[in-house]
Amino acid sequence: MDAIGVTARQLGSSPPPVDGRRGLPRSLGGALGSWRGPSQPFWGFLFVLPILVLFVVFKFWPIVYAAWLSLTNASPVSRTSDFVGLENYIALAGNPQFFKALIITGYYVFGTLVPVVIISLAIALLVNQKIKGRGLFRVLLFFPAIIPIIVVPILWQFLFHPYGLVNTTVIETLGFEAINWLTSTDSVIPAFIVSTGWRIIPLCMVIFLAGLQGIPEDLYEAAKVDGASMPQRFRYVTIPRLKPTILVVVVFAVTLTAKNLVFMLVMTNGGPDNASRTLSLFIYEVGFRFSRVGYASAAAVLLLLVIVVATAISLRIFRTDD
């Protein structure tokens, strides 16, 4: 539940209204009594209604529909759709491919999460320093995030080529043999992690920066007066104050990686030897290539469960006390 409060606060810290009249004395608001908005509930609902209809049809209904499909053997090809109870879930539980996909997804998600949080926080701290040219750095460092998402895996596929930039400038310079990144089972997920990180670190950096700027300057001044060193100030002022932001970044990075399908579709199609067949690719292939809609829906429901559990865990870890 806290996440929501966090989001609301994040959103609240955004643009101040431009309207000059905003500065009405608080007492005036009080004078009007407990004014809570126009009392015509009908109109309030009417304003929400248009987008609500779209939400019902394109968000809420698909969830219900997915849950229902997961209990059937639906397939557009055989035109069947019989209720089969938990059969799909039982079949998934006995499917080693599914478990492999689950493990690979976990590896990819957490393998990306940890370095992304650390690096983007570090960069945010650097560009938050009062140094000349930090505005330029902020813009330049954001560039990977404006590259179209479809271009990212295409570009990195080339960079990870046996004769590509990663091998020639990094690996061979360090004295290692060139690695065939995307066709070796050990290196394919690390390659995904690097390319994913390149794309989302700038986004996380911007979220962290917004969080850092929300920490009042006088807290640092007070800590300085008390003789706190820089690492101490980071540990006892920055980190506690940044907890809600860390939560937002964690949930953001987890959802983004857990759902990622573009990279797999473009770079590997799940190979080599299923080493990059994540849950979302598993769902896509079973559902759309093999038309086993019911079976794929059961996997989709489990993916949603994984995301909900991951979010709940992050909420517990980064719970703020207010």
Binding site: Q40, L209, I283, V293
Partner: protein, 278 residues
Amino acid sequence: MFGNRMRSRLLSAATYLMLGACTILFLVPIFWMVSTSLKSTVNVFDLPIEWIPADPQFNNYPDSLGKQDFPRYFLNSGIVATTVTIVHVLLASWAGYGLAKYQFGGRQLLFWAILVTLILPLEVIMIPLWLTVRGLGWEDSYAGLIVPVIADAFGVLLMRQYFLSLPSELIDAARIDGAGHLRTFFTIAIPNAWPAIVTLGIFMFQATWDEFVWPFLIVNSSEMKTVPLGVQSFQSGELSNFPAVMAVSTVATIPLATLFLAFQRFWIRGVATSGIRG
């Protein structure tokens, strides 16, 4: 050991050094993309890397773009992203306004229901969504590309938050002056919300233009392809022609890069406030 001034100088030198290294690391792939797009296929892997091609092959651009109907893809992407942006901004503003400024039964429930969809990725509901949209007869159509995308929670929450900070006295005054609900919305709420509206508009346009998976599922014909689909199908047809693929990728990057440079602040503000949106 060091004086204070010396120390702060060392610190800022270290900051510049690290920032410089990160910036180079982040920009090198982009530079490689543009550089490779101007090479001939035989020179792609030449070492040492020729960062600025001595003999730039500008023809790569017309040659590769001519292989598919890219003008059509750009038109489609433009139509889809513009329509989604305009309709979403209007509907999300209405909803945000209704949730922020009116009391009605189920308001909290509605707010939470919309909020939780932030962690609901398309990939989880892609099968039922695809079946639903196909059932509506919208497969391979603008309607299929546009309408489902409008249902996005971020805008509703952003606008609600913004309208919460709009003094209710303003609305009250307009209402006392006899303005209707819609009129109050358009003359009081909207003119006060421009920064939020532009932020949301840029965010939605970028997100829609960039979306790959949904168009990939719903589009069958070449006439309905958006730019990301065009790039993907071009790439799968020209796997080893690196310069051609990089030329197409560069062209596909230009619209978003232009939008970013023009609306930098709003774009970054959108990202900073979106956070949780998957």
